[in-house]
Amino acid sequence: MEDNNLEIEKIYKIIDDMVDKNEGLIPILQKSQDELSYLPVDILKTISERMKLPYHQVFGVVTFYSQFRLKPQGEIIINSCDGTACHVRGSKRIREAIEREYGIKKGETTTDGKFTLEIVRCVGCCSLAPVIVVGKDTYGRMDSKKISKILKKYKK
């Protein structure tokens, strides 16, 4: 609980600093999400107060952009790329393999809180399609067999 409070204090400080520097709503939301992995309602309310913006405006921005999340995420996010190049090279089959193996669908998190599966519209590595991004690591030329091996590495 104490840790939690510390974390919240830290976020408040970041928000205040950024408001002082006039950094703008979207960068503040991005930074807060970087810290917390998602945007809890309390944080949104704080941002709205400190920035003197109506809450509906903050909430409107959060729900408009796909980058922002209102729910907590798993420890590692699996971003399965479904850009055009990945799509024609069979990204769907890779995604289905993950869905089968870990029992999660798009936007869902495994029960142990380890993985969250997301679909991303192109990470720009199209020439290595199909591509999958696990955490911060990008893997190219995937197939349903390779992905299973790769994810096992992260399971530890």
């Binding site: 703008g24 979207i26 408009f64 590595c125 199209c126 020439s127 290595l128 399609a129």
Partner: protein, 652 residues
């Protein structure tokens, strides 16, 4: 040190040259996103370890992407007095072989891609001759070799860079530095003529003269619409209101496109210099780069570049001793495709929902914070320094009648040589796909090329003779877009393909106007019906009618062009739609509901691979005898087809 005059710039250029062409061997690893995805990081570490272990006196550095992503990780080795040698597919376990061949001087043909004898330096018509280790005039005759005959013979066996089919027909202007310089070293950019154009305009050009030169070059915006860049600059300069802003649209949202990413990762300074020149010409002191958050490496390199430019006084106050002030900031996107539309982009920078508004007023008169704003694409800006340095007439000599210069394309999909290419405008689609891209994968046949991103269209084989230019491509039902080119073969179902784009576009609709918000959804429902074998012939008319309404009634290009993939496939591949509707059959064997998986008994060797990997245990059979799929349990996941080494699995 801050650059105050020509002497200072020249000094940095000299420093850059000695870092570009050092007096001892240099190893460069291509470390743009695609290289990294292919394992360049591990390669870099392995090389660095070998250098330490073997106590080698070499410089290890990184560079951007040469464009040949298919061959990543790419490594270049430069030794004084020898041509530059480019190595391909150099994953970490091949590093030992590379270093051994470097030490012994033996050339390992299986890892060598090409050699470079001479390299243009882009300033004062000079080239670096790697044999003589000198910088000479472009027109100078080949200098005598200073290497042994034996080595000369060996080297001659390596194909020349410019003779590799992938590079042969390319003309690099926007990508001039990608893969040549270390993007995190401003001096190397300066060594290749960088910031000399900025110096030139600040000292020799009036604001109007810069605009005049850009107008004369006939550069058209590379974001897709092709509006003349010089004219846009003139409008913004002439608009009332202060301050004025320069914005770079680096929100490359098209799936299947990575031109801007590669350019920024490989040569961020060319974008900064272009923006600075635009700022001077238009009379702005502030610039914003709006870049996708999905491109962390591009953002990192931009930050480094901006920092370095500030250090040497190329941004900030009194740039190069003039009274021109300019600052550049980065704004990160937050994952909304529609923010590529300029008014939505402005809304997003201002911290609002990225919803487009109707134009006019155009951003040139009322843009960021309601002030006159010039918005160009990354590539448009990065052409500008070269246009200033080499002149509008030089730029005019490249390209087609109506559109000058080159166009950068991302070649992907079912094509042999995937990667990033830059070709003169006016080249035929056929040359692009078959000569540069090497055609489709072995054993497959070409079906269509999708050009222009999710709002573009699919062009069939009979349209391959079209020149790549704004007007002819639009007439044929596609758009130039920002440069994504995706090739598909006979395994791709065109109805499913159109559905994929429509799904994307309707997901990304901002929801403001009805034709786009509902039209996309309704079209998607119809297409889903067709791919599930529940379509009717009238559906095709309904699709066309909806497309018309969306095209005429939507506020921005997203809604207007969303029907494009459907219209173009209906135009060129109508028979596939009809096969789905009448025969309840998917000719390409892709639409799940309409197909069944079978094993070809003649081809099956009974190796058991599919049997072991089938998630449903739907495959049975004895070892070394043909296997069988039990369709009752088959979920059509396609794993068996993916892993079969004998091509024995087929769909019907």
């Amino acid at each position: 040190m801050k650059i105050k005059d020509y002497k200072d710039l020249e000094k940095l250029r000299k420093e850059g040259l000695s870092s570009l062409y050092p007096s001892k061997p240099k190893i460069m690893v291509g470390m743009a996103s695609c290289g990294l995805a292919a394992g360049a990081e591990e390669t870099y570490k392995a090389i660095s370890k070998e250098i330490l272990d073997k106590k080698l006196d070499v410089i290890l550095t990184k560079t951007g992407c040469l464009g040949f992503c298919q061959m990543e990780p790419l490594v270049e080795i430069l030794e004084p007095g020898k041509p530059k040698i480019i190595y391909k597919k150099l994953i970490s376990n091949k590093v030992k072989k590379l270093i051994d061949s470097f030490i012994t001087g033996r050339i390992e043909s299986d890892i060598v891609l090409a050699r470079v004898d001479r390299e243009e330096i882009l300033i004062e018509k000079s080239v670096k001759n790697f044999y003589s280790n000198k910088i000479v005039n472009e027109t100078d005759e080949e200098v005598n070799y200073e290497i042994s005959d034996k080595l000369k013979n060996e080297i001659n066996k390596i194909p020349l860079y410019e003779e590799i089919p992938f590079f042969k027909k390319q003309t690099k202007i926007a990508l001039r530095n990608c893969g040549y310089i270390n993007p995190e070293n401003i001096r190397e950019y300066i060594a290749r003529g960088g910031y000399f154009s900025l110096y030139k305009v600040l000292n020799e050009f009036s604001q109007d003269e810069v605009i005049e030169e850009v107008k004369k070059s006939k550069l058209r915006g590379r974001g897709g619409a092709g509006f003349p860049t010089g004219l846009k600059w003139e409008f913004t300069r002439g608009a009332r209101g202060e301050p004025k802003y320069i914005v770079c649209n680096a929100d490359e949202g098209d799936p299947g496109a990575f031109m801007d990413r590669s350019l920024i990762e490989g040569d961020p300074h060319s974008l900064l210099e272009g923006m600075l020149i635009a700022g001077y010409a238009i009379g702005a002191n502030e610039g914003y780069i709006y870049c996708r958050a999905e491109y962390p490496l591009a953002i990192k390199r931009l930050n480094i570049a901006i920092e370095q430019a500030k250090e040497v006084g190329l941004t900030g106050k009194n740039i190069m001793g003039s009274n021109f002030n300019f600052d550049i900031k980065i704004k990160q996107g937050a994952g909304a495709f529609v923010c590529g539309e300029e008014t939505a982009l402005i809304a997003s920078i201002e911290g609002r929902r990225g919803e487009p508004r109707s134009r006019p007023p155009f951003p040139a008169t009322a843009g960021l914070w309601g002030k006159p704003t010039n918005i160009n694409n990354v590539k448009s800006y990065s052409y500008v320094p070269q246009i200033i340095l080499k002149g509008a007439r030089w730029f005019n000599s490249i390209g087609s009648e109506k559109s000058k210069g080159t166009m950068v394309f991302a070649l992907t999909g079912k094509i042999d040589s995937t990667g990033l290419v830059e070709v003169p405008i006016g080249m035929s689609l056929k040359e692009l796909v078959f000569d540069v891209g090497g055609g489709v994968l072995p054993g497959k046949s070409f079906k269509a090329v999708q050009i222009g991103g999710p709002l573009g269209g699919c062009l069939p084989e009979e349209k391959l003779n079209l020149p790549i230019d704004y007007e002819p491509i639009t007439e044929a039902g596609a758009i130039m877009g920002s440069g994504g080119v995706i090739v598909v073969d006979n395994d791709t179902c065109m109805v499913e393909f159109a559905k994929f784009f429509l799904q994307f576009a309707s997901d990304e609709s901002c929801g403001q106007c009805v034709p786009c918000r509902l039209g996309g959804e309704r079209m998607l429902e119809i297409l889903t019906r067709i791919t599930e074998g529940k379509g009717e012939l009238e559906d095709l008319d309904k699709l066309e009618k909806l497309a018309r309404v969306m095209n005429q009634g939507s506020l921005c290009a997203l809604g207007q062009l969303t029907p494009n993939p459907v219209l173009s496939t209906l135009r060129y591949f109508r028979d596939e739609y009809i096969a789905h509707i009448i025969d309840k059959r998917c000719p390409a064997g892709e639409c799940k509901v309409l197909i069944t998986y079978y094993i070809d008994e003649e081809k099956c060797t009974g190796c058991g691979l599919c049997l072991r990997h089938c998630p449903q245990n739907a495959i049975s059979g004895e070892k070394k005898k043909a296997h069988k799929i039990d369709t009752k349990y088959c979920i059509k996941c396609g794993v068996c087809k993916d892993i079969c080494k004998f091509d024995a699995i087929y769909t019907e």
